[in-house]
Symmetry: D2
């Protein structure tokens, strides 16, 4: 059931005639077997987005020739590109607070091979989830965030990240607003789950406010973290039906089931290099 | 397939012990056969809501005794109540502009017996839908709303409503903000469809703004009209998945399918006396 | 956040005038505060179903009077009834095999207080999930089922259940067909999750068959176990969209997310006494 | 809002290295501007599917060179291909019986420009929908199907189709099983809507049977018609939640809303050349 060894080529460039032909010709010339190909021309930005999955053994020992070929094209077409080797596992760091539902879900999926990555550590501002994390054999770092001196805690967080050098950071209901410098450093690589259907109910206590407004559906949103709280590019959203019979505590309970899957889908898409950021929006090749 | 003749008793009162027993005892004493019963205790407001459907022929000629019985209880329990006779059709007036999807949908459902009411008239600020409305044998009133002098048009609208005396008014994508006096007059009896998942994207051009925000689901919301635009009690909402492949014009097209059903469900629930307003929220017994 | 102490009265009887009045009158006479009330008249069977949640402290020390009152009514109205005390936790036994997703989900919810019960044991025909179960402090019983001699294993299962005397049995992807005698013994108290949208794809390998049929949605179904495999009363179902891009292994992965929530919702509804069986169907008061 | 003039190139061939490069190179050599590109490698059949939308004015007067280029590639790669000109409207014939919901929906969408085609005629075995069809200015052909002599009616149907030569035939709740010869003649071009979530409840009275089985979701399925009733390749499906409160007549009513959109989505996808048939399954590029 293990996924085959593949290369994933992702690229962005100003849209113009010939880009698919040129890249496809390069891949074909190396006898590369494309198992999945996705393209998108964004009318607003005039940008072109492309993702190709190629069987590694079809390229064989010509990987350097492949890279050289892309570099040659890159100048011509003004490409931003990356070639990902699925044999090189991405390292992620998870942040959590006291709520366990998202963290338990991600760890369970990771343990079962649904998320192809290494979990370098779980960082939390509370001790409560240490046992669960250690059950999965993952280092747990307790870094308290004291209301009176958050800066000290965040300094420690920044140092831990400096040490861990993760490819991506996942905020699994961390409940703390990270300082701009950390958001900046992980721009496009830090994913949050917000417990509302954004842009409704940005900020604190979304379920309480959803209850007060009397909405008939509640939602959750996973997005890349930017300095503007809850305003980063949206990766995935989903909703669940509620009614007058549900109190705020029921919305919280029902919402957990949406938060879990919405975050997990976003993390999986990100790890599989399916998500491209275009301005404040995303392209997600599914 | 015609629905049987029924009485629908709806009531609201401060929640206290004995209300269900007292009302049920009254119905039983008249040999009333309850086909559907719904109750809700609202913890926030401390109010109790009740809806009972009773076969008309089980009550037979004791209908006055029934009303007298309820009146007797009403004082005691501080009831607001109404007894609806399904044989007396409610009269509704539909408002539309140029977009035909909601109007066509409601008229088709009405024609097929899905909406148990009389459509007294369709009022529109454009002539475009006259032929469709007259196909269904319904009077079409063209009342233009001139940007420079909206007051004149709205005065005519108010007079038309004064004449028609509808039980309910449905804004089927009317696209005009009615004056406060009309909203007031039809408080709790005027239903609008807003083409977004409220409270996201209140006001104008919601699909354009949803596109710009890059949401992954679009929605529609039916709500009672209040003086505060798009802030009235929500009756029904639904959503549809969209992606980076969809432009604003696609959101508009896909949104129509949600608007249609969300408005139709709200109208049907209202006509069947299933919707209760509690503050700025609704209880919908389904 | 702990739920208040309540009594849950559930009853079924031939539908006739006066039953709600009589029961409500009894509750009111004891000053019982009803927090949730549900009624259903089943037109097919002519049966009436009722569920009332009553605050325990409103009844106080009159609980015996309450029971006596119901007993008096029962004869008259031919009631089947039960009075559940939420202070008396139900005991459940979970069955699993190798797949961990449903079991992990149920144990996590139970641990977080979403499922109000005691988990007496997990029984499995494989050792694989022992560590996860023991992490939650729950006894794990390994009872192998040998293809050549299933009877021996099932005999052991029957003895274990005899010992444990659970109120309900949950098959969390157990993958074994239990003998009729065990199904019979837990009739209406044993819940299974089937990994298809029943009645489609009953029996083995539903995802493989869904893939071969080219369906555009896959589903999962939780139902009470009867002697007829996958034909018992359905409690809950849900679906997930798939496309030509998904192989059988993707359907299996995506299906897990549906199985999890569909089983969890069924178990929660059952534990809260919200599910009534009527012939081969269920009434679920939500 | 009118869609731009485009060419749509669709092709299928045995999967092998170089096909995308070769076709893309051809398009680029003519300066063709690809606005949408989709590819799929089917692991089961070993076939490759491709759809490209190209702005017509980017190709200009080189359309014959384009065709010649594809013909040259076709032999080499064993292509089945078609080049569709969106300026040439496809002609469709709709079949209906007494139920109006699907027909009204398709005609309304067509009238509003959502379905890019010409409706040549509506054929029905009942007169009931004549007025609705003629309102839209479409010829209505009444061809009765007499139980005692269905062959005579179907002979007339075959002759009408012979005359009309439609590109596609849509069965909008026609409720008659067409003879194999007609199914054969419109293989891959005749779309039906079945009022269940196939493969559940194939054949007659699916809502009644869904009610009897006590399912918690009902569905609808659009599929290409083959000689095996309700077993053709599925194009689209959707579902709606139901409960014990719904009788068969409610399932029929709620089901209409699903049938409408499921059929409309399938027709639109077919008209836009987004649907490819592979064995008994479909690839739908959305």
């Amino acid at each position: 059931m293990k996924a085959a060894h593949r290369y994933i080529l992702t690229l962005t460039c100003p849209d113009r005639v010939g880009i698919v032909a040129t890249v496809s010709e390069l891949i074909a010339s190396l006898n590369g077997w494309v198992t999945e190909a996705n393209y998108h021309s964004d009318q607003d930005s005039g940008l072109f987005f492309m993702r190709n999955e190629i069987k590694a053994d079809s390229i064989g020992d010509q990987i350097e020739a492949f890279k050289a070929g892309i570099r040659a094209i890159a100048t011509n077409f003004n490409l931003h590109w990356a070639l990902h080797d699925t044999a090189e596992k991405q390292r992620i760091v998870l942040f959590a607070s006291k709520a366990s539902h998202c963290l338990n879900d991600l760890l369970h999926r990771w343990h079962n091979g649904e998320l192809d990555c290494t979990v370098s550590a779980v960082i939390s501002n509370h001790e409560s989830l240490r046992r669960m994390v250690e059950f999965y054999g993952i280092p747990f770092e307790y870094i308290p965030i004291i209301p009176d001196n958050k800066a000290a805690g965040f300094h420690q967080v920044a140092e831990a990240l400096e040490q861990l050098q993760p490819d991506a950071v996942i905020l699994a209901r961390y409940m703390q607003v990270l300082p701009g410098s950390i958001c900046e450093a992980y721009n496009g690589r830090m994913i949050n789950i917000h417990h509302s259907f954004l842009p409704s109910f940005m900020g604190a206590n979304p379920y309480q406010r959803a209850f007060e407004r009397g909405v008939k559906l509640i939602g959750a949103t996973s997005h890349y973290v930017t300095e503007d709280l809850d305003e980063g590019p949206i990766i995935e959203q989903d909703v669940s039906r509620v009614s007058h019979r549900h109190q705020t505590k029921d919305l919280i309970r029902l919402g957990k089931d949406i938060e879990r899957v919405v975050l997990a889908r976003a993390v999986r898409s990100h790890l599989e290099r399916r998500v491209f950021i275009s301005g404040n929006k995303t392209i997600v090749f599914d």
